[in-house]
């Protein structure tokens, strides 16, 4: 039992849990929750050990069946992938604890086993997508991810959910097929599927097939841009993220979109390589779309009445920040993007969970009905306020630090226009988050006086929210905790094979 196998064990535990949940829930209905939690704790511990191991001994590759990397499938367990695995598992763990109570409101009893099966398959595919180092394996995981992420939307049998997941499914099928076509074109040129091998072949031969590589890169990046909801291709996101049950929205918006961004980063920087990508001018276009998304996502969010829809549009804007960092194609830019991935995962989870709590207790989704709710649900609204301040960029919360890092990266490449865009986007964020907070704490509700009472929520819903909010503050005051890992992860990602 050496720790080399741990990433595989994590995947296998998640998969085994997923496939056994239907059987367990038929026979031992009461122990389902304990079973889920046990699987989570074990895989979390394994993932933590892996990160420790990697930080101490450096990255390593895991080849299935001990074949060489040309002929077999390979996992790359480096600082980046093991750290992101830990983040995925941590956030998902908190969301799942929250979901145990919340889902009782959202779906029927007999659907529980399907829901958690889908959740575990979702985690399986996300972690697989993060650690895999093989192009076709990447596609397979991507398809599992797209089916499961539609599945956790349509689990709630409402009209909107079916329509939203149908649209999401069609668009993400187009996205995956574009990626597959891109893979086919790359395979045509290189004859390899392993990312390292592809990149070494391409760096020698890309001058002979420039159009082919450009077209394949275009297909792959635009396919993933659909899935990652980069601005003009985001049309599925607001419906999908707002109609889904709250835990699903938190997972989709906090993690799933991020995993697709990792994949974009892998394709751009690991498969093709920074120099070729920069020579083809892809990153510059990415920053244009990112800047557009940062502004337009916030503008759309201002007009929304539904709280979850507003949060969904805000995700579009935040994805713009991340792609801005990626598009700079520098070490600073990439580490700012990674930092923002982590901080946005926490912030959006906190926002969605607190919005879900409001829906759980008060059954209100309309922003205009939230007057005085801060006195009725103080803990929930405190969590919401912290996360919203993070989104706006108030110092002391992680959102501020990621904006600082991004601004520094922008200044470093002397593109001062983007600095203005970051500022404008922050102002726009403030325009739609602050009114909610003001309404919640300073306005009187129509039905009741503003007397402070405690939230009427189950404890298993309050604790995860509070932990996520504390995590945001911790990250805001001690960004070095995360940055230390990211600083190690980035060079291994950007400068591979040099």
């Amino acid at each position: 039992m050496s720790s080399v196998h741990f990433p595989v064990y994590i995947l296998l535990i998640l998969l085994t849990t997923a496939v056994t949940i239907p059987l367990i829930s038929n026979r031992f209905k009461n122990s389902l929750k304990e079973y889920i939690m046990a699987a989570f704790v074990v895989s979390w511990v394994l993932s933590f050990t892996t990160l420790n191991h990697v930080m101490k001994n450096g990255s390593y590759t895991y080849s299935f069946g001990n074949w060489s990397q040309k002929i077999g499938i390979q996992f790359l367990v480096d600082e980046f992938s093991s750290f992101m695995t830990l983040i995925i598992l941590t956030v998902a763990f908190l969301v799942i604890i929250y979901s145990l109570k919340d889902m009782e409101h959202e779906i029927k009893d007999y659907q529980f086993s399907s829901y958690y099966t889908l959740i575990f398959l979702l985690l399986f595919s996300m972690i697989g997508l993060t650690v895999t180092n093989d192009m076709f394996n990447m596609y397979v995981f991507m398809e599992i991810l797209s089916i499961t992420s539609c599945g956790i939307i349509s689990i709630k049998h409402k009209k909107d959910n079916f329509l939203a997941s149908m649209r999401y499914l069609i668009l993400s099928a187009i996205g995956s097929l574009s990626v597959l076509l891109g893979i086919a074109l790359l395979y045509m040129v290189t004859g390899q599927l392993n990312m390292f091998e592809v990149s070494s072949v391409i760096s020698q031969t890309w001058q002979s097939y420039p159009t082919n590589i450009l077209v394949s890169l275009g297909f792959m990046v635009s396919g993933l841009a659909i899935k990652a909801a980069v601005f003009p291709l985001h049309i599925w996101l607001p419906d999908a993220h707002s109609s889904a049950p709250t835990p699903s929205s938190a997972l989709l918006s906090g993690l799933v979109v991020k995993v697709y961004i990792f994949t974009v980063a892998k394709i751009l920087f690991r498969i093709i390589g920074v120099e070729i990508v920069a020579a083809l001018g892809i990153p510059t276009y990415l920053t244009y779309f990112a800047a557009l998304g940062m502004i337009m996502g916030s503008v759309f969010a201002i007009g929304q009445k539904d709280i979850k829809r507003m949060l969904a549009y805000s995700s579009v804007a935040q994805i713009g920040y991340i792609f801005m960092g990626l598009g700079l194609a520098t070490v600073q830019g990439f580490s700012a993007a990674l930092f923002h991935i982590v901080s946005h995962a926490l912030l959006k989870t906190a926002l969605f969970l607190s919005a879900g709590s409001i829906i759980y207790q008060k059954d209100k989704r309309d922003l205009r009905d939230l007057n005085g709710i801060g006195y009725e649900m103080p803990i929930t609204m405190m969590v919401f306020t912290i996360a919203a301040f993070g989104m706006i960029g108030i110092p002391g919360i992680n959102g501020f630090m990621s904006k600082i890092y991004l601004s520094l990266a922008v200044i470093d490449v002397k593109k001062y226009v983007y600095l203005v865009i970051i500022l404008v986007s922050s102002f726009l964020n403030a325009m739609y988050y602050l009114p909610i907070i003001i309404a919640a704490f300073l306005k009187e509700s129509k039905d009741r006086k503003n007397i402070m009472v405690m939230d009427k929520l189950p404890r298993s819903m309050i604790y995860p929210m509070v932990i996520v909010a504390l995590g945001c503050i911790l990250m805001g005051f001690f960004p070095q905790l995360i940055m230390n890992v990211i600083d190690k992860a980035v060079p291994s990602f950007l400068l591979l094979g040099k």
């Binding site: 196998h5 595989v8 296998l12 998969l15 085994t16 496939v19 056994t20 239907p22 059987l23 038929n26 895991y62 080849s63 299935f64 069946g65 001990n66």
Partner: protein, 140 residues
Amino acid sequence: MDDLIVKTITRLIIPFIQLYGIFIILHGHLSPGGGFSGGAILGASIVLYSLSFGLEKASKKLSHETSSIIETAGILWYIVLGLVGIFMRGFFLTNRGAGFPMGEAGGVISSGMIALITLGIGAKVASTMITLFHTIIKED
């Protein structure tokens, strides 16, 4: 559909379809085919049965319980075969290095893990096809 000719022909032809499916699965490592195609053929035989005899009777042949057990078992079987590789001091999904009985090249019982995995996949794909079909037509 209540037609004598259809029912009789179905009853006659199903054993041959199933035999062919099993042949394809067992010869997966020797000839074109394998777990997926063989499993699809096996599944098609039950699909044919439920088309001509109705869903009620077909669900008795393969109940929802059984098929969900087969699906879970198919994946678990795959995982266990892979774990053998790890316990034999190799890597996940090692074939020859894990000491699977390799047999004689060209024989039906040969090629170690490949034949065993193909068997598991065949059973799983067959039951998947049937479950998908039954779940979807149950809606009418």
